[in-house]
Symmetry: C2
Subunit: 135 residues, 2 copies
């Protein structure tokens, strides 16, 4: 049995989203098991293989809603497609360029010193570190 009961309907309701069959199916794929980085197309392929297939439009809707609700974070590392990240805490990424794979690493042990002050009239919202690696 998992440490925390993954009551997806409740988690969706808590996020202000109706727990429809489609959203619950997607939440299961996303949040059951370890942290993941998915693309819309990739998640659509996965959910089509399940007992509760979901249209591509709904996959996009759900990913955008989950992101807006703070359940996901959007990561942009390469032109043409967005990744959605189930890890919403502070962390950074390795990006394996040839395969388009993303790997997390924690930010607590990373120190970024000497950043200049932000442009006038702006506040820092987030600092992203992307370590691009090749084979």
């Amino acid at each position: 049995m998992p440490a925390t009961s993954p009551d997806f309907p409740a988690r969706l309701r808590a996020a202000g989203l109706r727990p429809t069959r489609q959203r619950v199916a997607l939440a299961r794929l996303l949040f059951e098991g370890g942290p993941r980085h998915v693309t819309a197309e990739g998640l659509h392929v996965e959910v089509k293989a399940s007992r509760m297939p979901v249209s591509l439009a709904t996959v996009y809707n759900a990913l955008n809603q989950f992101r807006d609700a703070g359940l996901l974070r959007e990561v942009v590392v390469a032109p043409g497609r967005s990744y959605f990240d189930t890890n919403t805490g502070h962390h950074h990424h390795f990006f394996i360029e040839p395969d388009g794979e993303l790997h997390d690493f924690p930010s607590d042990k990373v120190t970024i010193a000497g950043l200049p002050t932000p442009p006038k009239g702006t506040r820092v919202a987030r600092v992203d570190v992307i370590v691009r690696v090749r084979r």
Copy 2:
């Protein structure tokens, strides 16, 4: 008179590219004056306003060729569009989220300590720091 003679035909030849009228016109817009971050559409609007208009396909071709030749660097910070950066040296970016504006800052004063070792079988190609700021 500028410090270095901006002989664009010569610079293009040195990069292995024929100095066509279109490429010279684009190189002028890109490399004359300070460092810039352009989008394909933005550069196309600029060059259309000049005495030597250029098709959008050629703008895309030239940007990709200039990047492949090391004259430009591609920067991906937001979904949907690529920026091309005339500053090809080591540096990082502020990204002003509401307006989609990019600002450089040098990387020599920035220290990134504590990065984990890259995934097995990979080598670091580049480390990008994107400081996302809001008004």
